[in-house]
Subunit: 317 residues, 2 copies
Amino acid sequence: MQNTPKEWSMIEKIRFRVQRQNKHNIVPLGDDAFVFKNYPGYSVICQDMMVEDVHFNLKYTSAFDLGFKALAVNLSDIAAMGAQPHYAQVSLALPSNLNESWPDDFYQGMAQLADDWRTEIVGGDLAASPDKVVVDVSVHGSCEHPITRKGARPGDLLMSSGPLGLSFTGLTALQKNLPGFESAKEKHLRPRPRLDLVKGLQTHHARVHALMDCSDGLINDAMQLTPPGGGFHIFAENLPVHTESQQMALELGMPVSDFALWGGEDYELLMAISPDDYDHFSGWHMVGQFTEKPGVFLTFAKGQEEITDFKGWRHFK
Amino acid sequence: MQNTPKEWSMIEKIRFRVQRQNKHNIVPLGDDAFVFKNYPGYSVICQDMMVEDVHFNLKYTSAFDLGFKALAVNLSDIAAMGAQPHYAQVSLALPSNLNESWPDDFYQGMAQLADDWRTEIVGGDLAASPDKVVVDVSVHGSCEHPITRKGARPGDLLMSSGPLGLSFTGLTALQKNLPGFESAKEKHLRPRPRLDLVKGLQTHHARVHALMDCSDGLINDAMQLTPPGGGFHIFAENLPVHTESQQMALELGMPVSDFALWGGEDYELLMAISPDDYDHFSGWHMVGQFTEKPGVFLTFAKGQEEITDFKGWRHFK
């Protein structure tokens, strides 16, 4: 779309902040489109949007954090295919009431995470917004062996790459303006995409039956991985839960498992593997098992309980 | 980002509307990311956002039109590199007050244009918006010989692929709620990306010194093509102007050249070629010439006039 002179000059500034050297670049940022030489393997693309007062609140989200997170959630989708990211494009709609350094802080946050993963910001758009900040990011990556959500088999273990419910713990602390809960707040504001696991996932790609990132909460996401007609059990006493989530559960008088089961936005990876391959994935947490029988169950040492009310993350609102 | 159950079900419906068969597809829409086999040549990517009440007004823009145009402006950027499009991703932020058929109409408009150019919608996002509609589209294309904005030489002709100022004529008619001006309204609401010219541009790529699409008005865009330190003349009496623009200029008591010089969003292509190659580009309009001397001039049969006030499209507001 058309840009205003003010936007042109801002775009020029952003270009110098984000431009990097990369021998794959053919036509740099600043032309009608960005052109690059393909990477080996397949191309992997995703795009994810964040809207003020729907996905974030500027009261407790800095411009830096927002830039960081808007890229992080997309890099997490790339990791969830077993892929490596290369390029990001960013569209940003900005109300006029933000202070002048806001856009620069935003691109600093994004560029910091991008640099961690040798990803370059190579395009996008800048627009006025009548009211709310809206940010939309697309990422281009590549991989030799894409790992999809489909392929889990009855009997497969459900594995998580890290603690679940920690982001929701952070969100709660931020919303209630509670002191402390620093790990949780950081997890919520600046989630770390699990690109560190991609190399291992590619090495063992034939052992990983299904893979996705955990953004809608364990139960909702595990349903996406479930073999057709089947179900799964969650090992309630085995859920990886951070001490700050335990503390928050105590303060709110809620079972801590609710944080792990329903809290979203952890951006950990979930995968399905055969029990025979368990030893190949040290560092992962066994959180459940897929079953031929339909239904979702919480299993405890002393019994099990069927989940029939799929409350999703809105449970907490 | 997280989606709500309502969004999940809408995403499912959209998937069935937009999904197509393509032997390059490896992992279809519906996983964490879309995976495809690369096309020959280089990859070409762009991303462009449209915000309600900044770039469009829902009073005179239907959901179908908006879907069409949001893709069209991106396909225009792909054409402006001399490339072919293959895939689009679409993020859409939707306020709750739209009627139920709105999203479906939107994706119909987008899919109609996408099908015209064998482009498939393969991802993106759907989000609630507190207030305004925001749509952001990214497109992935490919080409063997990218044609950039840089490369015009003093003496080169400035060529336009079609009428200039027609979109602004349409916008004016829509804003003033004038009857008639049907070609102009269509040009504004459903611009046609000039992908029809790409094959010819690739054939003659060595003759095309610089190329871009015209979205900010002829003067503003020609400045982007100008050789460093140089300038250009516009042949004022040669400007391709539609009869509806002439009629509008008469009604408003404005020189019709103002429409062509400053009105944006025509999404025609502009290129720089040597006068020796003029005969290879029938159908294009010669609108100006680049000069070694700096400055922007309007030349008439009986003299010339320097432009010093770069009003841009805001001139009209």
